[in-house]
């Protein structure tokens, strides 16, 4: 699968209009999965509208990319962060109701074996956080926005409480994973501000 994510910062008074336009543009791409939703309270650097598209192939996206990108030139859209990437999802039996995406940039020059270890530890999280119903860790092939994003870590959660509670509070997060993001830890490899964005999802996003 080939995925495209865009986090749109939108002038407050224009959000409903831009949401409708973004939904129409997403529908026009004929992507296999389309998610265009307002972000929920609690996002950090996560935009006001989250757009997520999944295609069977990169070629399908490239054939509609120009038309979709035209929508993003709307003057009410003040900033866009995003990424294009390939990857496959892991999922359990339970359906999620909240989709979350983390965009991050690993410091240039980080040794490959360190990046591998970082990725391995991120992949541990769903084993311990049982409110994650589906997930995908991907290396970014094309970054958009304020940082040269290198990774996208996506999850579906049972609900918002599953994201704000168990995901944050399990020791796998604060005692294992966070050190990669902590400028006080010698292991830090993610220094740029991340995009932590999430929204409601009524249907499966990751599949």
């Amino acid at each position: 699968m080939y995925s495209v994510i865009r986090l749109l910062d939108v002038v407050e008074g224009d959000r409903a209009r831009v949401l409708a336009v973004a939904r129409a543009s997403a529908a026009a791409t004929a992507a296999r999965h389309q998610l265009v939703e307002p972000t929920l309270p609690g996002v950090r650097n996560g935009g006001d509208i989250l757009v997520h598209l999944r295609f069977d192939t990169e070629g399908q996206w490239r054939s509609v990319e120009t038309d979709f990108a035209a929508m993003l030139t709307d003057p009410a859209i003040t900033r866009v962060n995003g990424a294009c990437y390939s990857g496959e999802t892991s999922r359990g039996a339970q359906a999620g109701t909240v989709y979350r995406a983390l965009l991050l940039r690993v410091l240039p020059g980080t040794e490959a074996h360190v990046v591998d270890r970082f990725e391995d530890e991120l992949r541990l999280m769903p084993r311990y956080v049982n409110t994650i119903t589906a997930w995908q860790l991907s290396r970014v092939e094309e970054a958009v926005g304020t940082s040269e994003w290198t990774h996208v870590f996506e999850q579906e959660f049972t609900d918002v409480d599953g994201l704000m509670g168990p995901y944050l509070m399990h020791p796998i997060h604060w005692a294992v994973i966070d050190r990669w993001f902590d400028p006080e830890c010698p292991d830090v490899i993610v220094r740029d501000r991340v995009c932590h964005s999430f929204c409601r999802c009524d249907t499966t996003v990751l599949s």
Binding site: G165, L168, H170, P171, D178, R179, D182, E184, P186, V188
Partner: protein, 115 residues
């Protein structure tokens, strides 16, 4: 909600002869801000307990916060402070190597993982 104290442990191997200066600097420059972020200083241990002038010492500093929630609140206060990470660089001449780890009492592990 999971509960139980969370411990933040700095283990620092000082450069030869630098242990006393490292401890003094840490307590004078780092500790006040850490307290402001909600951390409680539990121990500053020096091993071996001799102020060597020609060998490294290992200094183990242990902080605590009352819960994972308090750990996040401490982190959210510290993360936007652009001086915190570089502070460690400013004392690089005193430090040979260091780690920071996060721990809990063995009796609390099951409860902390039951979220």
């Amino acid at each position: 909600m999971a509960d139980g104290a969370v411990f933040v442990v700095d283990r620092v191997v000082t450069r030869p002869g630098c242990a006393r200066k490292f401890v003094d600097t840490y307590l004078a420059e780092y500790a006040p801000g850490a307290r402001d972020r909600g951390m409680t200083l539990r121990d500053v241990l020096v091993s071996p307990p001799i102020w060597f002038d020609d060998q490294p010492n290992t200094v183990t500093i242990t902080w605590s916060v009352p819960s994972p929630q308090a750990w996040w609140e401490m982190t959210w206060k510290g993360r936007p402070d652009s001086t915190l990470g570089p502070w460690w660089d400013t004392i690089g001449e005193l430090v040979q190597e260091r780690t920071r780890s996060v721990a809990a009492a063995a009796d609390d592990v099951d409860r902390l993982c039951d979220v």
